[in-house]
Symmetry: C2
Subunit: 468 residues, 2 copies
């Protein structure tokens, strides 16, 4: 273990203690001597870690007394701005937003960087895929896979979902080219051109683009950064307009990482029944829980009207291009659409992933990733607290991003262009709304480790956003 690694470990441990309120605002941290003894570290290493926390404004040194906590997590201000309910409208995404969407998919302030180590989970995954390739026999390469996908992978996915509270059979699953492809199939199967679809606001920009391309109208439903889509608002929307489908992410919606409480889920399903809605559940973040994994909404679906869409892109690899869909009453039509628009998925790739799941590698990977994401999130939130001015931050229990609300004078779209000149990508608020709301908000990801380059970029942001 290098020294660099040791001070980072201590820094992370202290940061967690502060966020967990083990040491509260104004309280004294353990002395340097105590930390050296308890953590078995050199004095230089301990001092290095403390100085870094001090530089981030999280603790302060008082002469001859030691280090004191200068930030209190309770002081984290939650975002307050709320979407307005407006009439359904066709979606019209500008070229700028399209450009941002492409770049923002990297979830990284510095997407040109990606020079870290290959995560151990991916090394194992690639080995499984390589084995599946070598095991390919006969004329397998001369046949298309079945439209529903490789049954071995669907069996593993069924087991995986069973552990997350949803009993599903492999026959109810269809493999897709990622979650976006699954959402596309769900909308193609359940809606017709001109139909109105209720979406979260702020919500996932990829959905808005899909609605535009399919000629569907969007009605935005105000969405809490803690509990997800607001059910009172949804009820109001459903009473005012004829809505065909509703797209929600009950388990950690983007951008804020909200988790929908069980009573809201039940209310959503009863509203769906009353208004004959298709409910499209985007479960792509379901496996990114920092605490206990939540059951999907689909587990409560007694009416066969929840279409679950998910993929491995956020939990394992964005380069796999493998997702899945369970299409409820629309499942046959979805299978047909998959066949007609794409014929099949790659069989050896599905076999490799199935093996990776079957031998427990995926579960180990998720466990390891949970620790890393937890540390990344804490570090990001702590850093955001040092920003000047009124900065409000969501505190997600899952997902890969926080939503940051800045003073109303901030124009994050202008800041996007500004930051891009410095090679930094931010994801401005208006991307998450059909109506250009949330101009003063920005989504920041904690998907990637906070190495020195990314910390530097993060420190530059207040300046680039003009909130100094």
């Amino acid at each position: 273990m290098t020294d660099e690694y040791r001070y980072q470990q201590l820094e992370g441990w202290l940061l967690k203690g502060i966020l967990d309120q083990r040491w509260r605002l104004g309280e004294r941290l353990p002395s340097i001597r105590t930390l050296c003894a308890e953590q078995k570290l050199s004095k230089a290493t301990v001092q290095h870690a403390l100085q870094r926390l001090e530089a981030q404004g999280l603790i302060e040194a008082r002469p001859k007394a030691g280090y004191f906590v200068s930030l209190q997590p309770d002081g984290v201000k939650k975002p307050v701005s709320r979407a307005r309910i407006e009439a359904p409208r066709p979606v019209n995404v500008s070229d700028l937003l399209l450009d941002i969407m492409g770049r923002s998919a990297a979830f990284d302030l510095l997407p040109d960087l990606h020079r870290g180590d290959l995560p151990p989970g991916i090394v194992t995954l690639n080995r499984s895929i390589g084995r599946a390739l070598r095991r390919q026999k006969g004329e397998d390469s001369q046949y298309y896979d079945k439209p529903a996908g490789f049954v071995g992978l669907r069996e593993q996915l069924a087991l995986h979902h069973a552990r997350r509270g949803w009993a599903v059979s492999p026959e109810q699953l269809c493999i897709t080219s990622g979650c976006q492809h699954a959402l596309f199939l769900a909308l193609m199967a359940s809606c017709e051109r001109g139909d109105v679809v209720a979406v979260e606001s702020p919500g996932f920009y990829g959905v808005l683009q899909l609605l535009e391309q399919l000629g569907l109208k969007a009605v935005e439903v105000p969405t809490s950064l803690e509990t997800g889509m607001d059910m009172d608002s949804l009820e109001e929307v459903l009473e005012r307009w004829k809505v065909r489908a509703c797209i929600v992410s009950p388990s950690f919606s983007t951008p804020g990482g909200a988790l929908m409480p069980e009573p809201d889920k039940k209310r959503l399903l009863s509203l769906a029944e009353r208004h004959d809605l298709a409910v499209i559940e985007d479960d792509i973040y379901g496996d990114t829980a920092l605490g206990r994994s939540p059951d999907p909404l689909k587990a409560l679906d007694g009416e066969d009207r929840v279409i679950l869409c998910s993929s491995f892109s956020k939990s394992l690899s964005r380069d796999l291009r493998l997702g899945w869909i369970s299409g409820a009453r629309w499942h046959d039509r979805i299978l047909h659409l998959k066949l007609v628009t794409q014929l099949a998925s790659s069989r050896y790739l599905q076999q490799g992933v199935a093996d990776y799941m079957a031998d427990g590698s995926f579960t180990s990977h998720l466990r390891r990733q949970r620790h890393e994401l937890s540390a990344n999130r804490d570090r990001l939130i702590a850093s955001l607290h040092t920003w000047p001015g009124e900065v409000r931050v969501s505190t997600p229990q899952g997902g890969l991003t926080v939503w940051v609300e800045l003073p109303e004078t901030v124009d994050t779209l202008a800041a996007y262009t500004n930051a891009l000149k410095h090679g930094i990508i931010i994801t401005p608020g208006p991307l998450f709304s059909v109506s250009g709301q949330f101009e003063n908000c920005v989504r920041i990801s904690f998907a990637h480790p906070w190495n020195e380059s990314r910390m530097d970029a993060l420190r530059q942001l207040p300046g680039l956003l003009h909130i100094e």
Copy 2:
């Protein structure tokens, strides 16, 4: 070399000689003694080969005189039935046809068989992909590929097309999940719900299904089994109805393997200009030429209105799920649609295929495959000549299938169900038309080697089709 292999080689050599008319109808083949000496084979091996040709009805033994050719290739009767021109109509594909489509994608009389050897080209391909997986570095797995796809693969494809007479830059290409996905993007980008699309008849059933799903109307244009879509008929159709797009396969259309002559290509482009058509070129069989590879229609496109769609599925592997599209004036919209419906393709997979192309493996594979397909086709046609009754067969110069026209009393849809009970898949004619034409026609593939099981299945077909 095993004995089994030796007699097959001799059999293939003799068959080719008969089809090439080296020995004409009624002429005597070289004697057994001559064949033994010239081919350096045992008498038993030579006899075995001759007896097999005799059993297929290609030669006959005359006592004390030797073997004589009993089939003359000039006697091959060409199919004569022609599609009718009918008004554009919405496509309505039955469940039976959908079922057949799924099974027919295997291009195999015995799709449950696939137990042959892994073709050498695929062994090399899988090694290239395995290497790309192992070379994956940094956080690559945590990033989506660009919507247009990996530039290294697009460069190789540009080189590959340049060799086939079409100068294209990598920027004009976008990687897709196979050719069906490319056709889908092309139709989404160039047409709107309710538009009329001109299609080949008989033509590719996958296109008809796409039209159905996208709510487009089809108008069928009679298509020759030798020269492709009939230009007089297309002109008539364009004058009678407002047509938005035209889908053609100038290089070896399915089912018959027609090759469109250059004057027809030029006429098609001038009709497209006069009637402001989008021309969607399905080039998936472009690399399956048994002789010289033809230039694509796209090479003549001076008006930027030919969208070329292709993939590796017919030329290399159906399990890759990699295709490409060059979208002409619709290219930006196609890139947008790819992003919105699927985000990206798998990067390591594209890298593996790019390496495979760069080191010449793809070219070697195509050369080897050309010889195999040529032999498979000759063997199939020879076998079809032994069928009783009036049987007419196309003689494709590329593609993977022949079109067989049977006596008018034959009902190939009924025969499909009948054959399925014996584990044999035939592809009935009505699958290739919106209006249920070609009831007495069937497509038979020569994509797979004629081993004993497949030869057995082929011998059973006249009985199953009730033409005995």
